[in-house]
């Protein structure tokens, strides 16, 4: 399969390494002309404000949104989750807004609030989750699958073709979540 990885800013190489090791071809999406025939899409961690701005400045936004609307499998982590969310409770901006949830940016505070925790992930079991200046989901529509929560806050969801995570599965050596994403293709 050919997976497009949004590569305008952030930790995209980490996703690329894991997906390549699983036997997939990865293409870095840095401008409009890179968005060709892809079977899957990764929206990596980074700064959502930067990624959101570059998606517009580089005229990539509409093409990528069309792919998501068409039902291409999407794996979104941290900043990627913010790009997908329909509402951001502490920011007036929204981006693709294809995932019917309300997300809170920097929900755990600044870097000193970053943490790592093992929690249950539906269909996989206990997963070590790394949260870096992370968001969490405050509210999700009834038709959204909740895959993991920590202290009552939603940190992993699946809705149709989209997997949205508040944490970074690309930072460890656990490939089970990436495998779950690949199974959607």
């Amino acid at each position: 399969m050919r997976i497009g990885i949004l590569a305008v800013q952030g930790a995209f190489i980490e996703h690329e390494k894991i997906l390549t090791s699983l036997g997939h071809e990865c293409v870095e999406l840095r401008q409009k002309s890179d968005i060709t025939n892809i079977d899957g899409l990764v929206l990596p961690g980074g700064e959502s404000t930067v990624q959101g701005k570059l998606l517009r400045d580089l005229d990539m936004f509409d093409d990528i949104k069309a792919r998501i609307d068409d039902g291409i499998p999407v794996l979104a982590t941290c900043a990627g989750l913010i790009l997908l969310s329909e509402k951001i409770s502490n920011d007036a901006n929204t981006y693709f807004a294809t995932l019917p949830v309300t997300v809170k940016r920097n929900a755990y505070g600044r870097q000193l609030g970053s943490f790592e925790q093992v929690a249950d992930f539906a269909g996989i079991g206990p997963v070590k989750m790394t949260f870096i200046r992370a968001p969490y989901i405050e509210k999700a529509n009834d038709n959204v699958n909740i895959l993991a929560t920590i202290d009552g806050n939603i940190v992993a969801t699946k809705y149709k073709n989209q997997i949205g995570l508040a944490f970074h599965p690309e930072l460890g050596d656990d490939i089970r979540i990436h495998q779950m994403f690949c199974d959607l293709m």
């Binding site: 800013q9 952030g10 980074g46």
Partner: protein
């Protein structure tokens, strides 16, 4: 700092990759930087070019001023402390800064010892001119490295020199026999396990940005093509004619650093670049601070 915290701190640097970190001196500048696409801002009272012009002793910024910037933006906020001044670092940690830059731009507080960064929970970025300096800082607990360059000059020559030197040394270590690594560690004055990591992975164990003298989209793309994972821009933005436009152009040039047609377009009508000073015209060599 336990190992988990160090991994989280290295992880934040990974999230900054492919981005531009901009020096700002006021909340207004911080907002301009964020709107232009900065992935983080460095809060300081005076940008390096002005520190150079003013002379005297240059210290950590007023915490109140830094807090004003923290409140103005949602992206990570970094701040500088003097080399070896662990109390300035403690203060920055107390106000929950996202990253501390133990920086040669400020006057060093200690001419022998750097801060023992392993004693902190907050992450540190440090400058380096070569692989030895970089690995010594990492051994002291730095979770991100940047080239020193020569701050506040608008002259990219030293950043280029430092990035080339570091990467040449990395390539040399990769090509060595394993039994030669012990001597290499001795020559570089760094612990063996870090040399071994470089030998096996062909890179530093932490993210490496370019800094010092970057003033144009072309400068930023040059540093990226030379192997930088992102770019700090200090005086280059707010000492130029049209900071917002120049900042946004540098951000795009870092993302598409090999697309010369796009960089050509981004370089049009940016207004005046910072005037800059040539390396032969400067009296104060900041890169020699802290080795």
């Amino acid at each position: 700092m336990d190992n988990t915290q160090y991994e989280l701190n290295k992880g934040l640097a990974q999230m900054l990759k492919g981005g531009v970190i901009m020096d700002v001196t006021t909340p207004e500048q911080a907002k301009i930087a964020e709107a232009a696409g900065a992935c983080a801002v460095m809060a300081l009272e005076r940008i390096p070019a002005d520190i150079r012009a003013a002379g005297g002793v240059s210290r950590m910024s007023d915490p109140k001023m830094i807090k004003g910037i923290q409140e103005a933006v949602s992206i990570p906020v970094m701040a500088k402390c003097r080399i070896g001044h662990f109390v300035e670092a403690q203060i920055l940690e107390a106000i929950e800064i996202d990253y501390i830059d133990e920086s040669e731009v400020l006057s060093p507080a200690d001419d022998v010892y750097h801060i023992d960064k392993t004693k902190f929970k907050v992450p540190f970025v440090c400058g380096a001119r070569d692989l030895g300096e970089a690995l010594r800082r990492i051994n002291e607990g730095a979770s991100m490295i940047r080239t020193k360059g020569e701050p506040g000059t608008g002259d990219v020559v030293q950043a280029v020199r430092h990035m080339r030197k570091m990467n040449a040394e990395i390539r040399k270590i990769v090509s060595m026999r394993e039994d030669e690594l012990f001597e290499e560690a001795k020559q570089l004055q760094v612990p063996y396990h870090l040399v071994q990591y470089v030998h096996e992975n062909g890179k530093l164990p932490v993210v490496n940005f370019a800094a010092g003298g970057v003033a144009t989209p072309a400068d930023a793309a040059l540093m990226m093509q030379l192997g930088a994972e992102g770019v700090f821009v200090g005086s280059g933005i707010f000492k130029s004619g049209d900071p917002a436009k120049r900042a946004a152009a540098i951000v795009q040039a870092v993302t598409n650093y090999t697309d010369s047609a796009l960089i050509a377009k981004l370089s049009e009508d940016l207004g005046e670049a910072m005037v800059g000073i040539n390396e032969n015209e400067i009296k104060l060599i900041m890169e020699e601070r802290g080795q």
